[in-house]
Structures are given as C-alpha cells and as structure tokens.
Symmetry: C2
Subunit: 341 residues, 2 copies
C-alpha cells in the first residue's frame, strides 16, 4: 500500500475561492461577512474535482491513499482576524472531510487550524477537536508563522504553542509544519517561504529541548525537510557545538521528513542521509510544481518514480511508502485496520 | 592552485570585539562613540591570529589562497545607524586589508558594506570605492536583509539595489550574498537565517529579470546555495511555471554556488546537479561549524576532502578549485597574474 502523507485540496470548486474573496473583501470594508450557507458545493462537484485531478493521478501513479488537508496557500492566516480564520478553517476542513467520505480508503483528512497572528493558539483547539472527533482527522497542519512571512510568532519550542502540543499528545496525532502564502515581498511562497519555514522549524527543534517536554510529539517537516538533509553535516555539527545529543537521539524520534523533492538527486540524497524510518512518502500533488520535467518526460511532482529509483531495498521502500506513515499517524493505522487494510 | 572564495576574519584579536561592544553601548546610551584611534591592533597580533588559525588550517588542508572578508556575524547591520555601520565597516575592512598585506598570495580581501536598515544602499559606495581602489578588494559581501531577520528591504531585483550593482559592473566584481546575525528569535543565525537567505536570494533572481538589466552582474550564493541544489527540480519547475527560460540561460550566467556544505552527500549532490562552471570551492573556515565530525574523524568544514571524493574528474576539480574563481573574480585573476601565478 502506498500512502501519500502530503496532499492539499488545491482543486476545490471555484465557488470556494469566490466565497473567500467575498469574506476578505467584507473584512477589509468592515462590512458584514458573507454567510457560510451562501457557499454551496454539491457532492457531484466535489467528486468531479477529485476524480479528474488527484484521484486520477493517484491511479496513474499507483498511490492508494492521500492524507488530505485544505490548500496550504489558501490558509492565509495573516488575512483578517481570528473570526475570519475560524469560519474559513471550518469551511475548508468540512470540504476535506466530505472528500474523505466520498472516497473512503483514498482520502483521509488532516486539519487546518484557524490560526491568526498574535492570537493564542489555544483558540484553535475547538476546531481541532471537531476535526479529530467528528471528522476523523489523523493529523493537523501547524503554521509556525501565521503572519505570512514576518515571523513574529515565538519559536515552536515556546510555551506559546503548548496548548496545541498537549492536544496532539492526547490524540496521538502528528503535525505537519506548514506555512501558507507569503505576504512579504522578500519571499516567494513556494520557492522560498515554504523551504525556509521547513529549515527554520527544524532548527527551532534542534536548539531547544522541546521533545524532552513532549517525548511523543511528532512533527512532519514537508518539502523534504527544506535545506536540512542537504546540510545534514552542518546540522550535526551545530548540534555538537550546542552540546546537544546526536540528532538521532535529540530529534529523530520526533521529526520526520516527507519526499516532496522534485528530482532524482534530491531523493537520492534524502534516502542516503536521513534514516529510512524518518522518511514518509509524499508528493504534494497537485501543488506548487505542476509541470512536466523536460529532462525526464514525467511530472516533477511524480515523486514515486524517484523513490522507485532510489538505492533502497524493498523493505526500506515499504517503510517509506506505508509502515512509517502508519506508525507516525496511529489514527490512520487504526482507520486502515478497521477497513481490514 | 586552490582558492577558497569564502573566508571571514572570525579570529580577529579580542580588542576588535571590545571596541565594537563599546560602540554599541555608546549608541544605545546616546553617548559619544569611542574613537577609532582607541582601537589598536599591532601587526604581530594580526599575524598571530591568522598564522595560528586560518593559515595553519590552509596549510594543513592544502588551500593556497582565501578571499577574506570581515566576520559575517559581526557585520550586524541592524545595530545602530548608518554612522555606526560606516565606522564599523571601515575598521573591519582595514583589518582584512592589513591581513592581505601581511600574507600576500594567501589572503585577498573582499569588502563588507556599511549597510543599515532603511538607508539607501548608495551610501555604501564610498566605502566600496576605497576597498577596491585602495585596498585591492576583489569582491564584496552584500546583505539582502540588513534588518537581521525581519526582511523588510526590497528584493534584490528592486531598483533599490541598483547603485551597488552599477558599481559592481563598473569594477567587474562579484557580490557574495551573505546575511549577518539574526535578531529575530525565529531564526538561528547559522542554522536557519544563513540558509534561508541563500534560498531567498536565489528565488528573487529566478522570479525577476535582474540579469537582463545587468547581464554581467555576478552573485555568489554561499553555503552551497542554501536549499537550492537539493530542490533543483522544484526550481526548474517553478521557472517553467513562471514562463522563465531554462535556469541555465536565466540565472546560471550570473549565479554561482560555493561548496560550504559540510558532509559528503551534500557535495555529491551539488556536483551532480549544478554545472561545474557554477561551483566555487569554499570552506568558510573558521566559521559556524568548527568541530570534528565523529563519522569521519575530520573537521566538518574541511570541504576539500568532500570535493576530492566527489565524482568529478581532474579537469572539473581544477575548475572548482581555481579556474571558476579566476573567471568570476577577474580582479583576483589579475592580482594572481601580476604575481606570476
């Protein structure tokens, strides 16, 4: 079985985007927000948006199941206030939940949080509770920078984030550390901000003792871990300078990297450097890079091809594709077992 | 001949740091700044600080020459104002110049600029002119984020930076794009901010047409290009989405990566992915990562070992070690030729 731990609903019907634009406009104009009930998307539309896109590609590529969360770039936590984020997160999470019900065994939801700059993350708990308890979410996406590129939240090791962590530990769910759109002109969203956030988050873990405070807390660092595996020697050396334990002991019980690296040499490095048990298969399709690589004739984001060609044996490949995900996402494992999978 | 294009004067006599602390203190207290003449460092002290450190390691490792600039973390452009930066840059550049005179053929200086947040970069020109014309500097370090992690300057493609570029083109010198200490608690300086800046700078080049405006402008992206080579497929794919030319045409006439990647798999990826003509040998020793790697028994920053072991032939290795640097830094080439080298 092949599990893709990193998929977003990037192909939602246009009505979603239109509603969001109205919401943002209303906030800016200090007018009344559009009602949630005004957004109507039928099951047929949802089905069509998935069948002709993600599910089609999953079938073509041989991916069985995707952990599916709201579109990362659309989270835009920097827009509006908590109320705006709260309504928006509820809408987006419900759509992913509905997709998971329409395609059981193919899509399992992960939650977006209603984060908002300078708002206590504890305010996100009710949405998270609903997503886990009512919608069967097996993970969440945590934005370490809800400001969208101004980086004015405390580091992930700060007590600021503990309410989320306490709930994660209670539910035994991991968080993918995933920023959203950059509103800072310095940072291109998918070419700089995403990768920078991955590197930043890892280093916040490295410099702190967060996983002593939360030994079972688990973070998935997407996009192949940003710059981290490529600079693994640097990070090992920095940990040494900081008198931290070896990274294997210090962070690798808690930190995992996905395979969203869009060329063979990158996946080769990832699988050579990072212990296999810390690598989770993912593609983030249909996402930032949708084209066909002229050097290979295949889609850049067809990461399964790179994993197939990597120097790992069949057992290791199975851990990357399935076993690691079932261990890191125990609620996914339970869901699959309940289906006899 | 082996040229290290990335060395900083990290081992300057203690008096330098002490003077700087007084300068910062005076600025904070709105008191009179310490006089430059109060900082006295004799040639013997300079000689000792280099001979027992950088030059010792260069001899041990077989590195002939280092392009030597003031300590990156000490630039701290976010501290004080233009006056503070101006005095500080002049002091630091003079020290590197003196080192270059004490060890001709071993150290060639590159300039730090007196940047300051929200100050027109044109104010840096007089210092740059002095460094090139009087001190024989062959390059400069350009900080794309003088705020120290708040990233509130325009992107490198903005006209804001053009005065620097015009001077670079006139002098035919490259800039290493190098940030300084992070004062943003989100970003560890050498584990996050440096790498993020490298990735960010590259993406600013990719999304813009800067090199159409300045076809001979040359940037060296340090630390192996941040996350860029590891995600080369992503960047190729993003350029494609943005309807930009192939990266080889769009940026690789102008952008070069150094080899400050502190483990073998990283250098293997770099040399596999990036054209050899775009790779410049560098170690940034004695810098962020000073320890010995327990996995190899050698210093993390002994990057020559990785280049020696990489799958490149002798001709390619010579380009990485020498020929590329002489092409990218023509003033270095002229200096070497004048010495019969």
């Amino acid at each position: 079985m092949i599990i893709d731990v990193h998929g977003h609903y990037t192909t939602a019907p246009k009505a979603l985007e239109t509603w969001r634009a109205r919401q943002i406009e209303a906030f800016a104009a200090k007018g009344p927000a559009p009602r949630v009930a005004e957004l109507r998307i039928g099951d047929d539309e949802l089905r069509e948006s998935i069948e002709s896109n993600q599910l089609r590609l999953m079938r073509e590529r041989g991916i069985d199941l995707t952990i599916f969360s709201p579109r990362a770039g659309f989270m835009a936590h920097h827009v509006g206030d908590f109320e705006v984020s709260s309504t928006w997160a509820a809408i987006c999470n419900e759509l992913c939940y509905r997709v998971s019900r329409l395609f059981p065994g193919h899509f399992v939801p992960a939650a977006m949080l209603p984060q908002s700059p300078n708002v206590d993350p504890a305010t996100c708990i009710p949405e998270l509770v609903k997503c886990v308890e009512e919608y069967g979410n097996v993970a969440l996406n945590l934005n370490p920078d809800p400001s969208g590129g101004h980086w004015n939240s405390p580091p992930l090791s700060d007590r600021h984030w503990y309410p989320i962590y306490e709930k994660m530990v209670e539910y035994d769910i991991p968080a993918m550390i995933h920023v959203s759109t950059s509103c800072n002109p310095s940072f291109h969203t998918t070419g700089a901000h995403y990768l920078n956030a991955d590197t930043t988050a890892f280093m916040q873990c490295l410099t702190s003792d967060l996983f002593k405070a939360f030994p079972t807390l688990r973070f998935v660092i997407p996009h192949g871990g940003g710059a981290v595996p490529y600079h693994w020697g640097r990070f090992r050396g920095l940990a040494q300078e900081l008198k931290k334990p070896l990274l294997a002991d210090h962070v690798l019980h808690n930190v995992f990297f996905d395979t969203c690296v869009y060329h063979q040499p990158g996946i080769d490095l990832l699988t050579r450097v990072i212990p296999i048990d810390n690598i989770l298969f993912a593609s983030e399709m249909i996402g930032a890079v949708r084209g066909v690589d002229p050097e290979t004739g295949h889609h850049y984001d067809d990461t399964k091809r790179y994993v197939e060609a990597a120097h790992v044996d069949a057992g290791e490949r199975r851990r990357i594709y399935e076993t690691n995900a079932r261990r890191v996402y125990p609620r996914l494992d339970r869901y699959l077992k309940a289906q006899g999978l």
